[in-house]
């Protein structure tokens, strides 16, 4: 049975990112770089960051402490393996320290963490956006944030990362963007600021009644993707009799009930008022977005029949200055307004300044009206799409939905790119980006489209607040999605039924312009009822599957997956996912400021051994910093990239020792090795 | 007379059994008056016996005297120094001279210490001896109380009751005290052993010039060992005097009753036993006036009443029952055949008279009238009215005023209204009836 504790589930739940489920990661710590640090890694050699201020004599074997969170036993094991690997060279004396999850997060988010000279290890979750595999770890703006633990402050790298996403050129030229990311991966391989150890997989385990199921890299979309996704000709059906390994679309059976063991209780059914992956999981059967995605992250219009980037302008955030209003900010940086802050003037610092200039929705509308915006994407909506309450989808729904996302739990990630949404006519809506953004096609439409009637009801009823779209508040969520929520019992179960007037079924999947699947592909999901059972404990969830109380579950400990895989009664589905574990060496502390030592460290991570020994093969070694799922926009040629970078990430103690010896010799460090 | 070695003045010890803060706030204070204003003297070399029934406050008195429990009020002068005022440090020094022997030797001896350590402990505490000298002293003490030095290495449970009491005595003697308070030292022992211990105590007194306060409920033991005796009843001393004065003949009706009740080890002895009515009242709410009045066979009759003392006693018992009772059944018990609440007035009258051992007609007509009224009221199940009917006539001076302790000569003090000249007639009446 599983060794994973329930803490793991909670850990998973707490991370919020637009798409990616974040797992927690640990990093090795380097000092928080002050602004005047030259910051290109090896330029800051005086090692002033040693916690107590007294630079210690560097001598080999080098004492180093590796740190991670204690509740993730796999990660702890991995860190211990790495520590042993360091020790084996004879050049390190290691100590592994573990912390309770919350303590550890607080520890590494301290901007001074990098000064302590420790090597931290955390897990993060990336998305289809290649940026999610470099920015959070290395951008100087993320020191003390998530999750530049060691305080990487490299203006050149910052520029590279910014220019791979923002600006007219990249936003219009995906190839240019891919090239720029390739440069970043090479740069990172050379500097070795971080060492990504592995990429996770998403698992799904089901019994033989489940047919055609294919996984999705992010578990919040696992079920909705598998049930029905024309982008990949994906459909799941129930059939107790046929061999589940034969998944020909001609065998599709309609009807049945799918029972799913879900890892958490959802916080809320209100899309912007929940940030846990399970909430998205349960919402994604009910709500839909303007666009959808395939397994490589390519974006397809969905509720929108089509979309078009109609305008890109060379605007940066300072250009909104004339529309901005001035608002007070307290010492902590809290900005005193009830309006959604869309843009803070880049020259202002809420923490340092008493007043900051900000752009709120009203001024954003003004700016757009004056033609000041970064990008405009225009969406043509399908006509005849109905909500579960019969309401028809119009541009109004889209605009109201964006408004509803203001000041919500997910407003930070929504309004870091969205500037404004505006109805052009009944079925046409434009969404504006703040600056030219290569990710705009994916980022801008990242909201669920909600029922206007429901939003009106919330506004009209004194007893209802934003965030109350939830059966626990006696409000049944209403979307355009293929399933309606029939019954929900907090901490226990949710029951869905197929929505009879689902628009794809009404229109026929063939009417979707980009669809080029086979004729047998159904016009909507085929399973009649979905029952979700919320079972946080891995062992219990696994037991429920074995006892035929659920048909499918996911997120089981890797140790149990082999058993299921070996059994004829169960099928294990694995796809590579975006979560990754990474180490960061304290690059602002001597001798780690020498990139050769960091490279040596990178060579000392036994990635293959880790994957096999610790994760039972249910993870992939990170030969580059970018996983397969993000390769669409993250590299020009994935295989070539891997061929070039992989040597820097191979386990190679001999090379590591060479590098270390060079460092010792060049700096004249004492060594007794 | 010489100055007493210990003089107790107005000593009180109240125990608070109040339920807690809330009750105190509501004025529901409950105080057990275990010792309530005791005056005593102990002279050098003498044994002062303190007797009384269980619950009369003997033990509290003994312990409060040595401040083993903190007295509520009053003074205890030891060689003129008030123990109740001493600081705890000074008190400890004085304690060396004042020792205490417990009733139950087993529970007062630490079961995990050897006899040698038990006896040696006071030596250590007061720094009196150490090393070889200490051992020698322990052996000596054991020898003095009739144990062998070889016993020093054994544990209390290996000894018989009498031997344990000897150990307790040896421990008390270790510090060479002046005064020992013996709290029921022999009541747990077999008679043959009891005699041994009593003899031992007497021998030790002679040898070391000790003064004893000897607390016991056994009057024969107290008489045997004591020079002077104090008789206690409900927290008060009712009589003090030399053993002779108190015992031969007894003066206070309580002392008299106590003495008469002792079963005489002589099958042909036919002394009259005085059987006290009722049991000892609660010290939470002691009777008014003379505390003994509720049981006293010689309770004084009011002016104008002159009946047989036993009739008067019965009449008063009836009155008290009416006062305390709540229903007819409380006055006369229900039997299988009869329910006093159901019977006729006449039958009730008969039942009550038989219950309280009253004659068919009370010999005093006024009393009979009042009694009759009371029965009427009881028959109507109105006990309050019955109480009112009796209130006037059924009344004793003993209920009204507490008696002063009257010194009848040479320190012999008796606290009884009968000693008061104004009740001389009453004394005569009892003398008459004694024949």
């Amino acid at each position: 049975m599983s060794e994973k504790s329930y803490f793991d589930g909670a850990t998973r739940r707490r991370t919020l990112q637009a798409m990616g489920a974040a797992s927690v990661v640990s990093v090795t710590g380097l000092a928080g770089c002050s602004d005047d640090d030259s910051g290109n890694g090896n330029g800051n050699g005086n090692g002033n960051g040693n916690g107590n201020g007294e630079p210690e004599e560097v001598s080999f074997p080098l004492e180093v402490q590796l740190e991670t969170n204690a509740d993730n036993s796999d990660r702890v094991e991995m860190v211990e393996l790495v520590a042993a690997s360091l020790e084996d060279t004879g050049y390190f004396e290691t100590n592994v320290e573990t912390f309770e999850f919350n303590d550890f997060v607080a520890r590494i988010l301290n901007p001074e963490y990098g000064d302590r000279g420790h090597i931290g290890c955390v897990g993060l979750s990336g998305t289809f956006n290649p940026e999610s595999f470099c920015n959070a770890l290395h951008h100087s703006g993320n020191i003390g944030q998530c999750c530049n633990m060691s305080g990487v402050s490299d203006p050149e790298l910052d520029d590279m990362m910014d220019s791979a996403r923002f600006g007219i050129e990249v936003s219009q030229d995906p190839d240019l963007r891919r090239e720029r990311y390739d440069e970043i991966w090479h740069y990172l391989a050379e500097e070795s600021y971080s060492s990504i150890a592995n990429f996770s997989v998403e698992d799904a385990i089901m019994n033989n009644s489940v047919h055609g199921f294919n996984g999705w890299p992010f578990n919040e979309g696992l079920l909705s993707f598998a049930l029905y996704s024309p982008t990949e000709n994906q459909v799941t059906w129930m059939d107790d009799d046929a061999d589940p390994r034969e998944t020909d679309l001609s065998d599709v059976q309609e009807g049945g009930t799918l029972r799913v063991g879900v890892v958490e209780n959802p916080d809320s059914f209100d899309p912007p008022y929940s940030s846990d992956t399970t909430s998205t999981f349960v919402q994604s059967l009910i709500f839909e977005q303007l666009v959808t995605s395939d397994l490589e992250g390519n974006v397809y219009p969905w509720l929108a029949e089509s979309y078009e980037i109609v305008d890109v302008q060379d605007v940066d955030r300072a250009d909104y200055e004339e529309y901005m209003i001035s608002v007070a900010a307290d010492e902590e940086g809290a900005i005193d307004t009830t309006e959604q802050i869309i843009v803070v003037h880049p020259d202002d610092d809420p923490v340092g300044d008493d007043e900051v200039r900000v752009l709120t929705p009203e001024e954003a509308a003004d700016a757009v009206a004056d033609g000041v915006f970064g990008m405009r994407i225009q969406y043509e909506l399908h006509e005849g799409v109905t909500f579960h309450n019969g309401e028809e989808l119009t541009a109004e729904n889209v605009v109201r939905s964006y408004e509803y996302y203001e000041n919500s739990n997910v407003s930070a990630q929504t309004f870091d790119s969205v500037l404004h949404a505006e109805a052009d006519d009944e079925y046409t809506v434009s969404v504006y980006a703040q600056v030219p953004d290569a990710e705009a096609e994916r980022e801008l439409p990242g909201v669920y489209i909600l029922s206007t009637e429901q939003l009106d009801e919330i506004e009209a009823d004194d007893d209802l607040d934003r965030g109350d779209i939830d059966p626990r508040e006696d409000l049944t969520p209403i979307g355009t999605g293929p399933y309606t929520l029939e019954e929900f019992s907090d901490q226990q179960f949710a029951e869905y039924e197929k929505y009879d007037d689902y628009w794809v079924e009404e229109m026929g999947v063939d009417t979707i312009p980009w669809f080029d699947g086979p004729a047998e592909f159904p016009d909507g999901p085929v399973i009649d009822e979905i029952e979700l059972e919320f079972i946080p404990d891995d062992a219990t969830r696994s037991g429920a599957l074995q006892n035929d109380e659920v048909d499918l579950t996911y997120g089981l400990a890797t140790a149990t997956l082999d058993d299921f895989d070996a059994s004829d009664d169960f099928i294990v589905d694995i796809v590579e996912a975006g979560a990754y574990d990474y180490f960061q060496t304290p690059l602002n502390v001597e001798p780690w400021d020498d990139k050769r030592l960091r490279q040596a460290f990178n060579h000392l991570i036994p990635r293959e051994v880790i994957v096999e020994e610790v994760f039972n093969g249910y993870r992939n070694p990170a030969w580059t910093d970018i996983p397969e799922l993000a390769r669409g926009l993250g590299t020009a040629d994935y295989d070539a990239l891997e061929a070039e970078i992989r040597p820097t990430n191979e386990y190679d103690p001999e090379r590591a020792v060479e590098l270390i010896e060079e460092v010792i010799a060049d700096h004249g460090y004492e060594s007794t090795v | 007379m010489t100055e007493p070695i210990i003089r107790v003045e107005g000593l009180r010890k109240y125990y608070d059994t109040t339920g807690g803060f809330v009750d105190r706030l509501l004025g529901n204070e409950q105080l057990v008056k275990a010792v309530d204003g005791v005056d005593l003297e102990l002279y050098e070399g003498e044994t002062l016996g303190i007797v009384g029934e269980s619950g009369c406050g003997k033990t509290s008195l003994g312990r409060a005297m040595l401040r083993l429990i903190e007295p509520t009020d009053g003074s205890v002068y030891y060689h003129g120094e008030d123990l109740t005022e001493l600081s705890s440090r000074k008190l400890r020094a004085v304690r060396k001279d004042l020792q205490y022997i417990f009733q139950d030797p087993l529970s007062s001896l630490n079961p995990r210490m050897t006899v040698g350590d038990i006896v040696g402990e006071p030596l250590d505490i007061h720094g009196l001896a150490s090393g070889a000298e200490r051992n020698e002293r322990i052996y000596e003490l054991l020898d003095v109380v009739g144990l062998s030095p070889s016993h020093a290495d054994r544990y209390p449970h290996e000894f018989s009751g009498g031997q344990r009491q000897r150990i307790g005595i040896a421990r008390a003697l270790a510090v060479d005290p002046e005064v020992i308070v013996c709290d029921e030292p022999v009541s747990a022992l077999d008679v043959s052993v009891q005699a041994q211990i009593l003899n031992l105590l007497e021998d030790l007194q002679e040898e070391f010039g000790l003064s004893y306060i000897f607390i016991a409920h056994d009057l024969s033991v107290v008489e045997h060992i004591s020079d002077r005796v104090a008789v206690m009843y409900l927290g008060e001393i009712v009589e003090t005097g030399t053993t002779e004065e108190v015992y031969q003949p007894p003066n206070h009706p309580y002392a008299e009753a106590l003495l008469s009740a002792i079963p005489e080890p002589d099958p042909l002895w036919d002394g009259d036993q005085i059987l006290l009515s009722g049991s000892v009242p609660s010290p939470l709410d002691p009777p008014s006036g003379c505390r003994f009045h509720s049981r006293c066979p010689k309770i004084i009759q009011p002016d104008g009443v002159d009946v047989d003392p036993s009739e008067w006693r019965s009449a008063m018992n009836f009155k008290h029952r009416i006062d305390d009772g709540s229903s007819v059944e409380a006055v006369v018990a229900r039997t299988r055949d009869e329910d006093p609440a159901e019977v006729s007035r006449e039958r009730l009258d008969t039942l009550v008279r038989s219950e309280f051992d009253l004659p068919d007609r009370l010999s005093d007509p006024d009393l009979e009238t009042a009694f009759s009224e009371a029965i009427d009221a009881v028959h109507d199940d109105d006990l309050d009215a019955a109480a009112d009917a009796l209130a006037d006539r059924f009344r004793s001076p003993c209920e009204a005023e507490p008696p002063d302790a009257i010194d009848v000569g040479g320190g012999h003090r008796i606290a009884c209204h009968l000693q008061d000249e104004q009740y001389a007639d009453e004394r005569l009446r009892h003398a008459d009836h004694a024949d």
Partner: protein, 318 residues
């Protein structure tokens, strides 16, 4: 003192106790690193320090501890236990929804414990030092030593997965009072009650064996009463007095045990909620659950005190 006044007094005394509990709990949570905002946004690269600060200000988390506490306290006094930060739901409604689940589970564990322990304790005491006593002593020792979660998992493995007698998941579509629940509750009830049963049994045995040696037992025998009547009437009631004490203190451990058991058996009770609350640093929820469970533990003790007096007339309400 009358029973009414005693109960009233004890109920009043709950207030300072709960106040103390709340101060301690608040202090502990406050001193623990991290707050709800950390938990919500810590690993989200999109959230800026300013966003975090704004959130903190919104929840009042930027104020000094004492101010936060006073605010919380004054809200509680008006019956407002605040909201769950992450979902915005009323804490009181969350707690009230979970409470019956935990009470049912706890009660069931309780009843199981008593139903097993008391007869077993009687049996062991009456057959002291014989085979049955030795066996029961062994079982009791095992019962005390086996960790809850392990026992729960083993029961699921054996009775659900291997023997197929019980479902793994609670019949969530049935109301709590549905008879099917009784069947399902057996395994979690056994899990939660085993340790308690073991301790109660041992105390029952000791206490009964001790009572059996008392003179009133000889006196009862001397009356010619049958042994069965002596044990079940005279001795049992006296022995139960110490069991009641233990049983009351065990309430706390049953509450604590429910945390683990609820997770293993997927029981939607307060215990599971509590774990999530702690992970999320949901101060309001932690405080409310602590207060509620504290309240119930105190009530259990109060009931025990009343039971004492029912069992033992010598005990006065003080």
């Amino acid at each position: 003192m009358s029973l009414h006044r005693f109960i009233l007094k004890r109920l009043l005394s709950i207030i300072p106790i709960l106040f103390g509990v709340s101060v301690i709990t608040f202090g502990l949570v406050y001193l623990t690193p991290g707050d709800p905002v950390d938990q919500m946004v810590a690993l989200n690269p999109h959230v800026s320090p300013s966003d975090e600060a704004t959130l903190r200000a919104q929840y009042g988390l930027d104020r000094p501890a004492w101010e936060q506490y006073l605010l919380w306290m004054s809200n509680v006094l008006t019956g407002d236990f605040g909201q769950v930060y992450s979902s915005g739901r009323d804490v009181s409604s969350v707690v009230l929804q979970r409470l019956p689940e935990t009470i049912v589970l706890g009660l069931f564990g309780w009843i199981f414990a008593l139903v097993i322990a008391i007869p077993a304790g009687i049996y062991a005491a009456v057959n002291k030092d014989q085979l049955g006593d030795t066996v029961s002593r062994f079982l009791a020792l095992s019962g005390i030593s086996i960790p809850n979660f392990w026992l729960g998992l083993m029961l699921i493995l054996i009775f659900s997965l291997i023997l197929g007698l019980f479902p793994v998941l609670p019949p969530s579509r049935e109301p709590l009072y549905h008879p099917r629940m009784l069947w399902y509750l057996l395994l979690p009830g056994v899990t939660i009650g085993t340790a308690a049963a073991a301790s109660i049994m041992r105390v029952m045995r000791t206490s009964m064996a001790e009572e059996l040696n008392k003179e009133y037992v000889t006196a009862a025998r001397a009356k010619g009463l049958p042994e069965r009547q002596i044990v079940l009437k005279h001795v049992l009631r006296n022995s139960l007095i110490s069991v009641v004490t233990l049983a009351a203190t065990l309430t706390a451990s049953i509450v604590a045990g429910s945390v683990v058991v609820e997770v293993v058996f997927n029981w939607p009770g307060l215990g599971r909620e509590f774990i999530m609350a702690i992970n999320g640093r949901e101060m309001n929820l932690i405080m409310a659950i602590t207060l509620f469970t504290g309240f119930f533990v105190i009530i259990a003790n109060l009931i025990a005190d009343i039971l004492y007096a029912v069992l033992d007339p010598r005990i006065r309400y003080e």
